[in-house]
Structure formats: C-alpha cells, structure tokens
C-alpha cells in the first residue's frame, strides 16, 4: 500500500470515500466488432462463436481464431488451464470483448454487432461467474427481475424454476444474499431461465462450492439441458464437466487446442496427460 499519488489529478483519489460515493463494481462494457459477419453454413451449431479473434480495446489479442459452439439440446463445455481465455471466449460470445476477426451467430444470423443487452432480447441468457444475483432482494424478486423484459404472465416459468430448484421455493421470501454458495448459484441460474432463453451461458457455475454441492449443481444443469435449452459453459473442473458434456472445447492461450465430444476428450491420451492429470 503506497501513498496515493498526489501528482495525478485524474487518479482514483477520493473515490473510495463511501460517505459520498458508491462504487458500482460494474464492468460490463459492450465490445466493438470490426470483423465481417456472414451467413452461417447450413447445419452449423445453433450458437457459434466462429474463429473469434480479439481482446480488450487496443490491448493485445486474447483470443486467436477461437471457435466455440453449442447445438440445440446439448451441453457444450469450455475447459482449459488457468489463463487460457475460457471466460474471455464466453464474454466474446456475449458481446463483451472487442472482436476484429470472426463472427458470432445465433440460429444462422450474425449477432456480432449487438450489445449484450440486445443479445438478451434475442434469447441469450448469461450467468456471470461472480455477482450473479441481487443480494439485497428476495429469491422471488430475483426471479421477477430475471423476467423483467417479459410483459406476459411469467408465473408458469417461475413454477418451472421452482420445480427445478425446490430449495428456492422454500426460501423464496429470503434475501438471496443470505443463502449458501450453492443456493446462490441456483438463484443465478433460475434468474437467467426466467426469460425462457433459447440458449443459456454459464461462466464457472461451480466456482467456490464444495464437491458435494458441485455434483448437485451438475445434476441440475443436466436437468435444465433436458428441458431443451442448449447450455454453453466454462468449467474449472474439467473431468466432471466433460463427463456431462456433449461437446467439449479445450482452449490453450486463447486458441482451440482440442475439441470433440466429452467422451472423446476424456479418452484422448494427450488431453488426459495435459489437463486431466493422467
């Protein structure tokens, strides 16, 4: 902790005084797109981040010709070592990275120029890794806010979410911030499901929860996928994730290293040696 730099008038000085300012913690920035969008090939996956290349602003590229995709009714998992750009690939698909190459298509149409909010309206739902619930609001209010863009009656959807996550129904009047880690993740996924999305994107849904809770969350995710919603997720726990995955992508340094079905990757000696600990 050094002394604040008095010579920099535009620095962060004074901005941490919580008696006059409140930090939003907001980091969601729409990315710029300067690639060339094109129509998708026939029979390509429902959601595809196709040969994405880009980074943040004028910084170096983080993704290099990186492709991730998910088919209808399937679970696709992005795995890889720390710093491989897994979450970045996810952000790129959701429009939070500056892309200057490649394309993102949903149902064959390019959505690469859309803001994240516009992608929500297009039927994409995203659950961030952290700060993914409204902590000061009740569980039920969290779900209501998830359905904010819907003007129709969303009670059916809420009942479905409660069926998927019975614990949420039990705790629906409780503040979401008071729940355990695993329950919070269920609120986060439940909130995202309230829009009745065409595709669900999860950024490390099991980060920071115990192994038992992790298994339960994976079971729930499989159940969500069974309702017909394609799921694209980033996972730290590569082995368990690949076990439930229809499709897996192993990223290394922002590029595709291996891809295949979950079973293929689990059986691949190269993948086993480098990422799954033998």
């Amino acid at each position: 902790m050094g002394a604040p730099d008095m010579s920099d008038p535009y620095g962060d000085r004074g901005n941490k005084d919580r008696s006059i300012t409140k930090d939003s913690g907001a980091e969601l920035k729409p990315g710029a797109y300067s690639g060339t969008p094109h129509e998708g090939a026939a029979g390509e996956p429902f959601l595809i981040g196709d040969a994405m290349t880009g980074g943040y602003g004028a910084g170096p590229d983080i993704l290099h010709n990186c492709t991730v995709a998910v088919e209808k009714g399937e679970i696709a998992v992005i795995v890889g070592p720390n710093g491989a750009g897994k979450s970045t690939a996810m952000k790129a698909v959701f429009g939070m990275l500056d892309l200057h190459g490649g394309d993102v298509r949903l149902g064959g149409t390019s959505i690469a120029h859309l803001t994240p909010q516009a992608r929500v309206s297009e039927g994409m739902a995203f659950v961030p890794q952290t700060q993914n619930i409204f902590t000061t609001m009740s569980v039920e209010e969290n779900l209501e806010m998830g359905a904010f863009i819907r003007r129709d009656d969303f009670r059916d959807t809420m009942a479905q979410v409660y069926d998927l996550f019975p614990i949420l129904k039990e705790k629906r009047r409780q503040k979401a911030g008071e729940l355990s880690g695993g329950q919070r993740q269920q609120v986060a996924v439940g909130r995202a499901l309230m829009t009745q999305p065409k595709v669900l994107m999860l950024d490390e849904p099991t980060a920071g929860v115990s192994p038992i809770v992790m298994d339960e969350l994976f079971d729930r995710i499989i159940e969500v996928a069974r309702t017909g919603i394609p799921i694209l997720m980033v996972e730290q726990n590569a082995r368990q994730a690949l076990e439930i995955a229809d499709k897996g992508y192993v990223l290394v340094q922002g590029a595709n290293a291996f891809s295949g079905t979950g079973k293929e990757l689990l059986a691949d000696p190269e993948v086993r040696k480098s990422f799954l600990g033998g």
Partner: protein, 336 residues
Amino acid sequence: MDVLNALVAFSNFVLVPGIAYGSQLALGALGVTLVYGILRFSNFAHGDTMAFGTMVVVLVTWAFQGAGISIDPLPTALLAIPFGILVTIAMLLGTDRVVYRFYRAQKVKPVILVIVSMGVMFIMNGIVRLIIGPGDQRFSDGERFIMSARTFKEMTGLDEGLAIKTTQGITVITAIIVVLLLFWFLGRTRTGKSMRAYSDNEDLALLSGINPERVVMVTWIIVAALATIAGTLYGLDKSFKPFVYFQLLLPIFASAIVGGLGSPLGAIAGGYLIAFAEVTITYPLKKVLGYLLPETLAPDGLVQLLSTDYKFAVSFVILLIVLLFKPTGLFDGRAH
C-alpha cells in the same frame, strides 16, 4: 403533578418540534439516499433542490392567495405542492439531460459526480435567489394551531401548556403518507423493484434487460417530489429563506449517513435521531428539570448544553462519531 408538568413541558419544547423537524429531515434524507443508491453519488444540490421546489410552491401559493383560492383551515401551500413538484421534476430532468447524462456517458468515477453536483448546487442557488430574492418569505396561512397552549391548560388544569401547530400536524401526516407510498413503490411495483435491482447490481440489471436511463429518470422524478414536499413542510413550519435550505444540507446528509447511505429505512431513523439530538441539546432544560428535581437540586442556570447557534455542530459531531465507529451507518444500505 410535577412529573406531568415536566412531561408536558418536554413534549411542548422538545418532542413535538423534534418529531416535526425529524420528519422534514427524513424526507430530505430519503431523497439524498435514493440518489446515492441509484446514481451512486452524494447529491450536494439536494438542499437547493428543496429550495427550488419550495420557491415554486411559494409563488403558486401567492398566486392562489391573490386569486382568493384557499382550503381554510389548511394552508393554501398544500394546494400548490403538486405544481411545485411538476416544475421541480422538469428542472431535475432538464439538469440530468444537460449535465449528469454527459458524465454518465463518460462513465466517470462517482467522486466526479459529487463535484458536478456542487456546481449544480451553486447554479440552482443562484436561480432561486434571482427569482425570489435572498430574504425571508412567509407563505403560511390558515388555522395556526391544532391545539394552543391556552386550550391545553384549560382542558387539563396543568401549569404547562402543550401547543401543536397545524404545520406540525400536517408535516407528520404528510411524512407518513409519503413514506408509505415510497416503500410500497420500491417494494411492490415492477419499476420500484427494478430501481432496487439497479442499485444492487448494475451489470446484472443490464443483463436482465432493465433500462438504466429509465431507472435514472424515475429516480429524479421521485427525488423532485420528496425534495419539494420536504422543503415546503419545512418552510411552512418555519419560514422560507434560500440560505437556510442550503444549510439544511448538513443535517440532511448527517441523517442519511447516520442511517446508512442507500437505505431508505436508515434515512428515516437518521432523520429523527439527528432532529432529536439537535433539539434536545440546544433546548434549555431548566424548566423540565425544575419540575422533576427536588427544590434544593433545582438548577440555577438554563441547563442548555449548547446555544442554538451551534445546532449544526450537533449534526456534525454525530456524523463524526458514526463515521468513526460504524461507518456504514445504523442500517447498512450496502449489505451483501
């Protein structure tokens, strides 16, 4: 009998004025806390927003009085409040359009918005003085007392009188209605919930399709109504003088911070706490103690802990104590 007299004297000089003043501070602090929670900065222009709103109410009241419109025994100003609110809404939305929106688009640090609000404060301050002048304006009319000290003495036969001014009664009733409406709005309506969601987690609100510009607009509309009502109630109770409203900023900020910035419940608790502290410490307690203590112990002096000139020091000291020992306030508005 002496105990009763002491109680009545205390009610008359501390309790009743304290409740009225506390309600006014609470309404003011609610405005500050809403801006803090949603726009994420302390709005230094709030005192002058109150002055602006009250000025409009005063002008409309005079027009009504001139035209012979009245709702006697209630003050005509009550009739003028809706007009004051509408003009203040226009003023705040205009300010947001030409000033704050620019800085929001740059995504500036909140501390810059604090300084920007100071600029807005000076301009609003100037506008109010240009239009109505810096002097004291009275605009209260109608019945002065709900119960005068004389009536109370006749009714009860006590030596001490208890007076309740009409403006004090109106203040408390209005404050209760406004607070209930505000809590209903924030807790039950779709728009109110979206405001709380935006205050809680900006990114997630965006991902849920909540439009920030709309949240900001609704916030300014509510703040305009709160500021105009708080200012008018204060002006009716005392008098309207622009500089006094600028000074009110300190007890209002103290209320909001003591209660916990961002927490509406805290703003209300803080308002009453600051008001009672201020009134109790600056009121000479000689009379009350004279009734309660045996004659030999009766105080010689006034037992006034601080002269009324120092009433702002009371808010300031409470503010300092809270910031030192419980900086998040009594009710943490940023609980996670």
